[in-house]
């Protein structure tokens, strides 16, 4: 058994208490440790991805109990990819937070950050549905802390809403799990898949309820209509690096849908035949619209970015809703892209908003390095809106290409393309206001504002580098689209190989 599989959970879980309880008085030490830990996490994630490339489903039996009785971790291409994505994103975001001093604006940033990573990695790696709940809670509670990091009126109020919404979601999760256990008597995902297969439609009412409730739970995380309302206020009020890290949180929801509703309730299970997609698809279409309207109608930069995230989740889930290997591969590629795109946009938005001091889309005096920020914003916006040459365009093409069923095509294509148009127009309006119109406002107009706060220094390399790194990743995703897609394509194939998953997890008792 490969002990490295547990390391993405245990490493941050051991580091975080040290950060929170031992190093809490020394920010420099905490920074060094936190960054070092995250670098190590990236290294481990790379290693695990290389392990997973062999196409095997690797099992880690916690407590040495056999599945389905104990909890197992499952490392396959999908979970490895998600952990790798998380760790890379985390490293970039962390460097941004350190460079911009966000981490010092409140207590316990690094500890909460590492706990959050632990929760996310745990959610990706687990092969047990109740354990998925537990790690959802770990990542959520850490996110509550990060969300309200450094306080402030608007943030606190948004924080309350965020917490309440997710507590409601967690409650529903438990209702769903109760129903699931009551109807199958097991919690292991592979075992569930096995059991659900055997449930005839005449006896499927309960398991169907469980399936749909679970989907709503995941939809809340994935910001799917009509449970997406919480996201814009949360993301736009969160500290920007946190919002950037949250880019992966929506993906946790999408991942859970992929994992659970493909393996357990996926195609071929008579009991829930067609059930997951029926609702997911129209909801995803509306989500695209919600995101697009939000971007176009935004009065402030951060909500604009947040709505763009909503829109991108809609696009992603439209592809997921097809529940086919081909569309899933496209969705996975787009997931990689949209995670970095959203993060990049939040990071650059942070740099801009910090200097403008407001995020309202009105003209204020031009800040230092206007050109630099304009260029970064332009690139990030291109990424988010899915325009070439960055990877979003390819992702969108892949999704469009994968959705060719006549009925889904008309809706999905219209929504994605029209949504893109509104998004582009919205970003153009915003960018024009932020970087072009602002050049026309004489600095004297807001002398008062300048006087009350200290003058802003130009951004150093350290502050800009993380954003640039994200953009470089988007470019790399585009340039190396072929190999990347090969990986996600095989990932999707593996994901849809339910029998292989079941036999790997419970069949042979796991490989050593």
């Amino acid at each position: 058994m490969n002990h490295w599989i547990i390391v993405p959970v245990v490493l941050p879980a051991l580091l975080a208490p040290l950060l929170g309880f031992v190093m809490r008085h020394d920010i420099t030490l905490a920074r060094v440790a936190s960054v070092a830990g995250t670098v190590a996490l990236v290294a481990v994630a790379v290693g695990l991805t290389m392990v997973a490339v062999d196409g095997q489903t690797h099992i880690y039996r916690l407590g040495d109990w056999p599945a389905p009785f104990g909890i197992v971790l499952v490392l396959d291409r999908l979970s490895a990819m998600m952990v790798l994505l998380t760790s890379i994103l985390a490293l970039i975001v962390l460097l941004h937070a350190v460079a911009t001093n966000w981490d010092a604006r409140g207590r316990h940033f690094h500890a909460l950050f590492q706990f959050q990573l632990m929760g996310i990695c745990g959610a990706f790696l687990t092969g047990d549905i109740f354990n998925l709940f537990v790690f959802f809670e770990v990542l959520l509670i850490a996110s509550y802390g990060l969300m309200i990091h450094s306080g402030g009126r608007a943030r606190m109020r948004a924080g309350v809403q965020y917490v309440v919404m997710n507590l409601a979601g967690s409650t529903l999760f438990l209702f769903a799990l109760g129903t699931l256990y009551a109807s199958t008597g097991t919690l292991n995902i592979a075992d569930l898949a096995d059991k659900v297969q055997d449930i005839p439609i005449e006896d499927a009412a309960l398991v169907r309820v469980a399936a749909i409730l679970l989907m709503i739970v995941f939809a809340v995380k994935a910001a799917l209509f009509p449970v997406q309302f919480w996201l814009p206020a949360t993301y736009s009020n969160a500290p920007a690096p946190v919002a950037a890290l949250f880019a992966i949180m929506t993906k946790v929801g999408a991942y859970a849908i992929l994992r659970v509703h493909t393996v357990v309730f996926g195609p071929g299970a008579e009991a829930v035949e067609g059930l997951p997609g029926t609702w997911l698809f129209p909801a995803a279409i509306v989500t695209i619209a919600v995101g697009a309207f939000g971007v176009l109608g935004a009065r402030r930069l951060l909500p604009l970015v947040a709505f763009a995230v909503v829109g991108s989740m809609g696009t992603l889930l439209v592809a997921v809703a097809a529940f086919s290997p081909q569309a899933t591969a496209a969705a996975l590629y787009y997931m990689l892209h949209s995670t970095f795109a959203a993060a990049g946009l939040f990071l650059i938005a942070d740099l801009v908003v910090t200097r403008r001091r407001v995020d309202t889309l009105v003209a204020v005096p031009q800040t230092l390095q206007n050109g630099l920020f304009a260029a970064l914003f332009f690139a990030a916006a291109i990424g988010m809106a899915g325009m070439p040459p960055l990877s979003g365009f390819l992702g969108k093409l892949l999704i469009l290409d994968a959705l060719r069923g006549p009925s889904e095509m008309i809706w999905a294509w219209s929504a994605i393309l029209a949504g893109s148009l509104l998004t582009i127009v919205g970003f153009a309006r915003a960018g024009s206001m932020l970087f072009w119109k602002s050049t026309t406002v004489p600095a004297a107009a807001s002398v008062e504002a300048e006087e009350v706060s200290s003058p802003m220094l130009p951004a150093g390399v350290a502050e800009v580098a993380p954003t640039m790194a994200v953009l470089a990743l988007l470019a790399a995703l585009a340039i190396f689209a072929g190999p990347v897609f090969n990986y996600v394509d095989d990932t999707a194939t593996q994901l849809f190989d339910r029998a292989g998953y079941i036999s790997a997890v419970i069949g042979s008792g796991g490989e050593e």
Binding site: G152, L167, T171, L174, N237
Partner: protein, 118 residues
């Protein structure tokens, strides 16, 4: 018995949902507390009921035991929801102290007047 527990879960859920939809943080917290009771009992019920068969193994006789797994799950859920509630209480208190309002909806227009000044 089953009817009573099911209805109790239902009433707890209904009360919880009703309070969850209120406009101030405190009743919402109460609502979540009720929901938490409801869901704990619900989850517990997924193991079905048995009277006087606690899953404490006895050396002497080989009686049957109730399903222990949902109990363990409920324990985990109770602890987690305790942590969550504590955080929510604190965040709600913080929001009240900072904003001088314990309204939970952001519709009184004050979310904007800071323009999210950082």
């Amino acid at each position: 018995m089953e009817v009573l527990v099911a209805t109790a879960i239902g009433v707890l859920t209904a009360g919880g949902v009703y309070l969850l939809l209120r406009l101030r943080t405190f009743p919402v917290i109460l609502g979540l507390a009720l929901l938490s009771y409801a869901v704990n009992v619900f989850l517990f019920a997924s193991g079905r009921f048995a009277i006087d068969m606690p899953p404490i193994l006895s050396k002497y006789d080989t009686t049957s035991y109730t399903d222990p797994l949902p109990q363990a799950l409920v324990l985990t859920a109770i602890v987690i929801s305790f942590g969550m509630t504590a955080v929510l209480v604190m965040v709600a208190l913080g929001a009240f102290l900072v904003a001088d309002s314990d309204r939970i909806d952001g519709d009184d227009g004050d979310a904007d007047d800071e323009g999210a000044a950082r």
